[in-house]
C-alpha cells in the first residue's frame, strides 16, 4: 500500500479553512494516555479496578508513606513493549524512570514517576484510514510508562476537598505522536485506530468513558505549503505556535475542540495578534477552549532520574518472546481479509475494527461465499446489533447461523429476499435458519412446472402487457414481480427470469 508523506493537491484543498486573509491549514499532534491493562499498579502491588470504594485500592507505596519504595511491575513493562511492537516502534533496550516534581493533593509522593529523556519505546508509526477509505500515516515519537494520579472530590463538602487514591500509581502509557494529523477527522481516526490496536494487543481496554484512554490535543495553524516545508526540513519554524488542549475525553469533543481552537488561532493571527504557547482546557458545555496556564506559568517539573529505581533493561530474548505472542494486528488482518476473502477495503475495515467482529466473521465464513458472509455480517447483523445496543459478543445470532443462512442462499433453497425474512425469525430466537425455513415453509420454488403455471396464468390475464413487453423489454420486471407475488416470494428469481424470457420471447 502506498503511504502518504504529503497530501495530494485534492486532499490538501479539502482540509483548508478560508480565513479573511486567505487559506489556512490545521496541524494536530496528540498525546494519548492509555491505562495499561494490569491487575496491579506500576510500582506497588495494589489492585487496579473500577468501582472500588474510595481509597480501597491504596498500598503504603501509593500513599507515599515514609520510607516506602517503588518496585517496578514487570507485567506493565511487558505491556508497554507489546504496545511498542504493535506500533512498529523501536524498543529501547535501556530506559530510565525519572521523577516529575510538582505539588498537588492527588499526587501523594509530590512527584510522578515517569520517563523523560529515556523512554521505553522510541519511534514507530500507525497507518490510519480516513472515512473515504484513503490512508495516511501518523508517526509515533515515543511511548513511555508513567504513574497516574489520584482523584480529588470537591462536591462532598462546601469547605473541604477529599482525595481518592485508588487510581494513584496506576500504570499509564503515554503515546506521543508527531504533528501528522491535518483535520479533526484525521485526529479522531488516528485515536480510533490506536484504540483498535491497543484492544487487539490487550494492553489497554480503550474505555474512554472510564477515562482509560484520554488524549491531549496539540493544535496549530499554518498557511498552505508550510506543513510540507516542515516535513521536508523537520523544522518546526514552518509551523504555527501550538496550544495543548486538555480534557478532551470523547471523539465528539475532540472534533469540537480542534475546530474551535483552529478558528480561534486564525482569528488572533488575522487580527494582527500572536498565538501564545499555552495549555488550554476544553469546556464541553460551551464547546470552547480556555486558557489554563501560559508557557511562562508552566510548571518547572525538575525532572531527574529516580534514584529509587535502577535503569530499566529489556533483554532481546524477552522482546522476541513477546513478539511471538503478538496477535495478528488490525492492518495485517485487513490485508489478509482482502486477499483471502476478496473483500473490499471498506468491508474488511468494518470487520477488523473489533477483534470479536473479525473472529465472528471468520467463523461464519468457513466454506461459504466469503463476500456474501461479509455482506450479511456487516449489513444485516451489525446494523441490527447497533440498533439494539448489542455487542457482537452477545449477538443473538451466532456465526454458525449466518453460515447456515448463506449456505441456504448458496444452494438455492432460499432467495436473498426470503433470507431477510429468515434472518428476522432467527434474530427473534425462533431457531436456526434451516429450522425457520422449514417451520415457515420458506423453501424457494425451483420447480419449473409450478413457476410455468404461474407465468401462464399471468400472461393469460394480461395480454396487453404481453404485447407491450415485446417493444419494451424492461417491462419484464413487472412480470417478475407478479410471479413472485403469486408464489409468495418463494420462486427462484433466476428461474423465473429464464422462463419468462423464453415464454415472452424477449
Amino acid at each position: 500500500m502506498r503511504r502518504r508523506m504529503t497530501d495530494t493537491v485534492a486532499e490538501r484543498e479539502s482540509k483548508q479553512i478560508q480565513g479573511r486573509t486567505g487559506l489556512w491549514e490545521i496541524v494536530i499532534g496528540l498525546e494519548v494516555h492509555a491505562q495499561v491493562s494490569s491487575k496491579s499498579k506500576l510500582f506497588s502491588g495494589a489492585a487496579v479496578g473500577f468501582g472500588a470504594g474510595p481509597n480501597e485500592q491504596v498500598s503504603l507505596v501509593d500513599a507515599a508513606m515514609p520510607g516506602m519504595l517503588p518496585v517496578l511491575n514487570r507485567f506493565c513493562v511487558e505491556q508497554a513493549v507489546r504496545t511498542g511492537l504493535g506500533l512498529k516502534a523501536q524498543i529501547n533496550r535501556k530506559s530510565r524512570f525519572a521523577r516529575k516534581n510538582y505539588f498537588y493533593a492527588d499526587l501523594p509522593q509530590g512527584y510522578q514517576i515517569s520517563q523523560f529523556d529515556e523512554p521505553i519505546v522510541g519511534e514507530g508509526e500507525v497507518e490510519v484510514e480516513r472515512e473515504d477509505g484513503s490512508f495516511f500515516t501518523v508517526r509515533i515519537e515515543r511511548l513511555h510508562l508513567e504513574q497516574d494520579a489520584g482523584k480529588l472530590i470537591h462536591d462532598l463538602s462546601p469547605t473541604e476537598s477529599f482525595v481518592d487514591l485508588n487510581r494513584a500509581g496506576t500504570a499509564l502509557m503515554e503515546i506521543v505522536s508527531r504533528p501528522d494529523m491535518r483535520s479533526a477527522e484525521e485526529a479522531t481516526a488516528y485515536v480510533q485506530k490506536l484504540r483498535t490496536i491497543l484492544i487487539y494487543l490487550g494492553t489497554c481496554d480503550g474505555d474512554m468513558e472510564k477515562g482509560n484512554l484520554r488524549a491531549d490535543v496539540n493544535v496549530s495553524v499554518c498557511r498552505p505549503g508550510d506543513y510540507e516545508k516542515y516535513r521536508e526540513t523537520g523544522s518546526f519554524k514552518h509551523l504555527g505556535t501550538r496550544c495543548e488542549i486538555k480534557n478532551v475525553n470523547s471523539f465528539r469533543f475532540m472534533r469540537a475542540a480542534v475546530e474551535y481552537e483552529a478558528r480561534r488561532q486564525i482569528e488572533i493571527i488575522e487580527d494582527g495578534g500572536k498565538v501564545l504557547q499555552e495549555t488550554r482546557l476544553f469546556d464541553p458545555t460551551k464547546g470552547e477552549t480556555r486558557s489554563m496556564r501560559s508557557k511562562e506559568e508552566a510548571h518547572d517539573y525538575r525532572y531527574f532520574p529516580d534514584p529509587d529505581l535502577l535503569p530499566l533493561v529489556v533483554e532481546d530474548a524477552w522482546i522476541e518472546e513477546i513478539k511471538k505472542s503478538l496477535p495478528e494486528l488490525p492492518d495485517d488482518k485487513r490485508r489478509r481479509f482482502m486477499s483471502q476473502y476478496g473483500l473490499s477495503s471498506y468491508d474488511a475495515n468494518v470487520l477488523i475494527s473489533e477483534q470479536a467482529r473479525a473472529d465472528f466473521y471468520e467463523k461464519a465464513a468457513v466454506g461459504r461465499d466469503a463476500k456474501l458472509v461479509a455482506n450479511w455480517t456487516t449489513n444485516e447483523l451489525l446494523a441490527r446489533l447497533t440498533k439494539d445496543g448489542h455487542d457482537i459478543e452477545d449477538s443473538p445470532v451466532p456465526p454458525e447461523h449466518i453460515a447456515e443462512l448463506v449456505a441456504l442462499i448458496e444452494d438455492g433453497t432460499i432467495s436473498s429476499k426470503i433470507a431477510k425474512q429468515v434472518f428476522d425469525y432467527v434474530w427473534a430466537g425462533e431457531g436456526s435458519p434451516k429450522a425457520v425455513v422449514e417451520k415457515h415453509g420458506l423453501v424457494q420454488v425451483t420447480d419449473t412446472g409450478a413457476i410455468e403455471a404461474a407465468i401462464d396464468q399471468i400472461m393469460a390475464a394480461n395480454p396487453d402487457k404481453v404485447e407491450a413487453v415485446k417493444d419494451k423489454p424492461q417491462a419484464l420486471g413487472w412480470f417478475v414481480g407478479q410471479v413472485m407475488k403469486a408464489t409468495g416470494g418463494k420462486a427462484n428469481p433466476a428461474a423465473v427470469n429464464d422462463i419468462l424470457k423464453a415464454k415472452l420471447g424477449v
Binding site: M65, P66, G67, V71, N101, P108, Y111, R302, F304, D308
Partner: protein, 491 residues
Amino acid sequence: MSALTNITLKAALDGLKSKAFTSEELTRAHVEAIEKANPHLNAYVLPTFERAVEMAKASDAKLAKGEGGDLEGAPLGIKDLFCTEGVRTTACSNILGEFTPTYESTVTANLWRDGAVMLGKLNMDEFAMGSSNETSRFGPVVNPWKAKGSNAALTPGGSSGGSASAVAADLCLGATASDTGGSIRQPAAFTGTVGIKPTYGRASRWGIVAFASSLDQAGPIAKSVEDAAILLKSMCGHDAKDSTSLDVPTPDWPSFVGKSVKGLRIGVPKEYRVDGMPEEIEALWRQGIAWLKDAGCEIVDISLPHTKYALPTYYIVAPAEASSNLARYDGVRYGKRAEGKNLIELYENTRAEGFGNEVKRRVLIGTYVLSAGYYDAYYVKALKVRRRIAQDFDQAWTKVDAILTPSTPSGAFALGDKSADPVAMYLNDIFTVTANLAGLPGISVPAGLGADGLPLGLQLIGKPLDESTIFSLAGALEQAAAFKAKPEKWW
C-alpha cells in the same frame, strides 16, 4: 548494674548464652542507665521500655530452651529514621507529628528476627541532615565525652548523634544508624565508638525515612569492631522491596575480625591531607599507617584526584534528591498539618512550620539545582563528577585492597560552635562523603585521644562488597590502638 551495661555486645551475647544473666536483667540494667543518663544526654527521644522488657522475656524463654537468633536478648537502640511498627517515628522532624507506622523497616525487622530487644528510638538530626545533632526537633544530643579541663557540652556528631552517644554512654549494646555523607562514621569518631556504612545496596532502605536515596545506607554504631560485624550481618540481606538492594549473600563478617591482615595493600591518598588539618589528626593517621605496617600490610601512596570535588558534589546530589524525597510531607495524609485557606496555603503553612531551618536550606538548594536552566550546570555536572570520583576508586583498587584515612578533620566540638556556619559544618563530612558518592563500605575505628582528651577515629574504605577485608583491618587497628578509654559518667 553497670557491670551489665559497660560490656560489649559480644560479651553480653556470650553471657546470655551461658546464662550468666538473663535478657530481662540485661535490659532492665540498660533501662536504669537510660533513665539516669537521658535527661543529660538526650540520646533517646522515645524510650520503649515496656516493649523492651516484653521482648527480653520472650528472648529469655527462647534462650532457656537453647534457642534464639544471633542477637537473642540483646538490647539495642534504634535511630528515629527507621520506621517501627506501632512506635512513633518522626525522623526528629516536627512535620511527622506523632506519625506511627503500621510497618517495620526491613533492617529493624531483621534485628527483631534475630532476637534483638528494642530499648527505644534515638535522637538524630532532622531527616538526618546535620553533622552535630543540633537540628533535631527534640533538641541536641550531648556527647558523654568532655574535653580535658572543660565542662562545655560537646556534640556527639551527626546525624546519628543519639546512636553514638547512647553506645558511648553504655545506654545500649549497639544502635542502628544511617549514613548519607558520614552520619555513622563521624559520630562514631566523635564518641570513641565503631561505625560502619556498608556497600550501597547491602542494607535495605525499605522503611527508612529517605534523605538522599542514592547515598543513604543503614549500618550500626557499636562498642567494638566485632560488635559492628555482628550487627551489620544481621541488618543486611537482599530485599525485593528495595529495587536498589543487592542480591548477594551476606558473609559471616564476625569471623573476619581478628584475621591476619598480612600482605594486604593499604592505600594512603595524598588528597586527604587537607589544608588546616590539625597536627594531631596527621599524627593519628601516621600512627595508623605504622600499626598496619607492623601488622604486615604494605603501604601504598595513592592519588584520588577528584577528592576535592566530593563535598560540593555531595551538596548538590544529596539536597537534589532530598528536595524531591521530602515533597511527600505536605500535611495531606499524615503527620503535622497547618491549615490554610486553600491547598497552596496548607502546603506553605505545613512545610513552613514543620521543617527546621537546615532542612529548608537543603530543600531550597535541591530545588534550585534541579530547576530548568540550572539542572545541567549543577545536577548533571555533579553526576559527572560523581562518576569521576568512583573511577578514582576503581583505579585505586588495581593497586590496593583498602584505603586508610582519618575519619574526620577534627575531634568533637562544642554544641553551638558551628551551627551558625553551614559551610564549616559541612566540612565535617570531607573525609566521609567520598565513600557515599562511590557506594563503598567505610568504617570508623577509635584510634586514640586528642590533646584535649577527646576520641579520634581512623577510617578504612573498602572495595565494593568487600566489608570482610575492612573488618579484618579494623580489627587489627583496634587491637593495635588498644583503645580502652571510656567517658567519665558525669551524669
